[in-house]
């Protein structure tokens, strides 16, 4: 078995393909993370301000999250008129998931910012928008980061489903291996997915640390 894997990996043609899939996988999982986060922050901010909006947004996010990924991958092209095999479908679908998953942490994080801190910032003359970026957003990083980590792991594992419609990064190793009844690419694909998830997670933890220097001194989270 191990011999098979080594043999499979030592083929330069395979190496090229694997690297290509890895790059695609990274792109397909990372872009949605950034886009989803960028969408979730303003949405969460809106939701944290009005009760009715909060209920609507949270409810929508929940329903969106119940839609299976494969279903979203194949329905989206019909809705937006793209090619069914276009990578944009996977990127868009995963962005939507990410946003749905992150709205709640954003709201929770904003809720968790102590009222007196906001009051103090207002008293010092911050306008709401500026205050949001200078005070509320930085303070919500720890809670937000937890959500982003989940989204990252979830995206990385979901991308491979895209292989069923032709764009799935490392997922192509699974469908390819299955078609020729050959295990090594499947094992390599699983291992690389796990590795990718782990590395991304470590990077995100590092990023959070860098963004929240105050939490290290106080011994808080």
């Amino acid at each position: 078995m191990l011999g098979d894997i080594v043999q499979y990996l030592s083929d330069p043609f395979n190496q090229d393909r694997i690297l290509g899939y890895l790059g695609e996988h990274l792109q397909l999982s990372l872009l949605p993370l950034v886009i989803g986060l960028a969408a979730a922050i303003p949405l969460g901010w809106l939701a944290s301000r009005t009760r009715s909006l909060r209920l609507t947004l949270m409810g929508t996010a929940n329903v969106v999250y119940t839609i299976p990924s494969l279903a979203l991958f194949v329905v989206l092209p019909g809705l937006i008129g793209t090619q069914i095999t276009a990578p944009i479908n996977v990127i868009l679908a995963l962005s939507i998931y990410t946003a749905a998953l992150l709205v709640r942490p954003v709201v929770d994080a904003l809720d968790a910012v102590p009222g007196h801190v906001i009051a103090a910032a207002t008293a010092m003359g911050y306008r709401p928008l500026r205050r949001f970026f200078a005070v509320e957003l930085p303070l919500s990083v720890p809670v937000l980061a937890a959500g982003v980590r989940v989204a990252s792991v979830s995206n990385i594992s979901l991308v491979s489903v895209g292989a069923l419609i032709g764009t799935g990064g490392l997922g192509a190793l699974f469908t390819g291996g299955f078609q020729i009844r050959y295990l090594p690419p499947i094992i390599v694909g699983i291992a690389l997915t796990l590795l990718l998830a782990l590395v991304m997670d470590l990077l995100l933890v590092g990023l959070r640390r860098a963004l929240t220097p105050w939490s290290r001194v106080g011994g808080a989270h």
């Binding site: 929940n62 119940t66 329905v75 594992s157 299955f178």
Partner: protein
């Protein structure tokens, strides 16, 4: 477009036989329910044990996080090639995917019982079992059920993907349709899966309302309204997305 999907869905020919909607729906539901029950049978006792004794918590968090990163499609194809049987391999893959949310939800639920409450239970002379059943389990219900809801959602989705290795269920429409570029069939299958997921989730949400003790729901409301700053561990405890978020908040 919508027209075509609708006419596919309403075509009487698609409502009977082994490839008919009722049969596929029942198949899908069957795999989901069996795998969910198995995951509950494994995850709940294990989660209760680790949460109650506090032993192996770190290992458990690491394990569940790792399992969550496993790519569904990879696992299913791997197991199929190793075991050869569609039924066994998909069922194992489904259980492997459903155990982490159940386990993490149960564990987090027990852990979520306030320190003082556990202390008081012990101080009043409850035995270990009494503390577990009368205090920790009731306190764990919101997160435990959240974990089960989450698991069921993942199961509905993953069962679709498992059609790739020949499993029945609604995933058939999607994959068979893709092969012949029959878009209405693909979309109809996808919509049916989504509808099943939403309905099951609503049912479980209703169950959650009934099962979670009233006092706990009130406590959650007070916590929220009181504006008491919640720690990351508390991120959303009652809905699916939240349940996912909190699990990942570990480690």
């Amino acid at each position: 477009m919508l027209q075509e999907i609708l006419s596919w869905l309403t075509d009487p020919a698609h409502w009977s036989g082994p490839d008919g909607i009722p049969h596929r729906l029942l198949e899908h539901l069957g795999y989901t329910v069996v795998a969910a029950l198995a995951a509950i049978a494994i995850g709940v006792p294990l989660g209760l044990f680790v949460g109650h004794t506090g032993r192996g918590g770190l290992a458990l968090v690491g394990l569940t996080n790792g399992m969550r990163a496993l790519p569904t499609l990879g696992l299913v194809t791997f197991l199929f090639l190793v075991l050869g049987s569609t039924q066994t391999s998909t069922l194992i893959a489904l259980v492997v995917l459903a155990v982490p949310p159940v386990l993490a939800g149960t564990y987090a639920g027990v852990q979520d019982t306030p320190r003082g409450v556990v202390d008081a239970a012990q101080g009043m002379g409850m035995t270990g079992w009494q503390r577990l059943w009368r205090v920790e389990v009731p306190n764990a219900t919101p997160l435990l059920l959240g974990g089960i809801r989450n698991a069921v959602l993942q199961l509905v989705a993953t069962t679709t993907v498992a059609a790739f290795v020949g499993l029945g269920g609604l995933g058939r429409y999607v994959l068979d349709g893709l092969r012949v570029y029959a878009y209405p069939k693909v979309a109809a299958g996808a919509l049916l899966v989504a509808a099943l997921a939403v309905v099951l989730d609503l049912l479980l949400a209703g169950l959650q309302r009934v099962i979670v003790p009233r006092g706990l729901r009130l406590a959650a409301v007070t916590r929220r309204r009181g504006g008491v700053a919640r720690e990351p561990e508390r991120v959303g405890t009652d809905v699916v997305a939240g349940a996912v978020a909190r699990e990942g908040a570990n480690g």
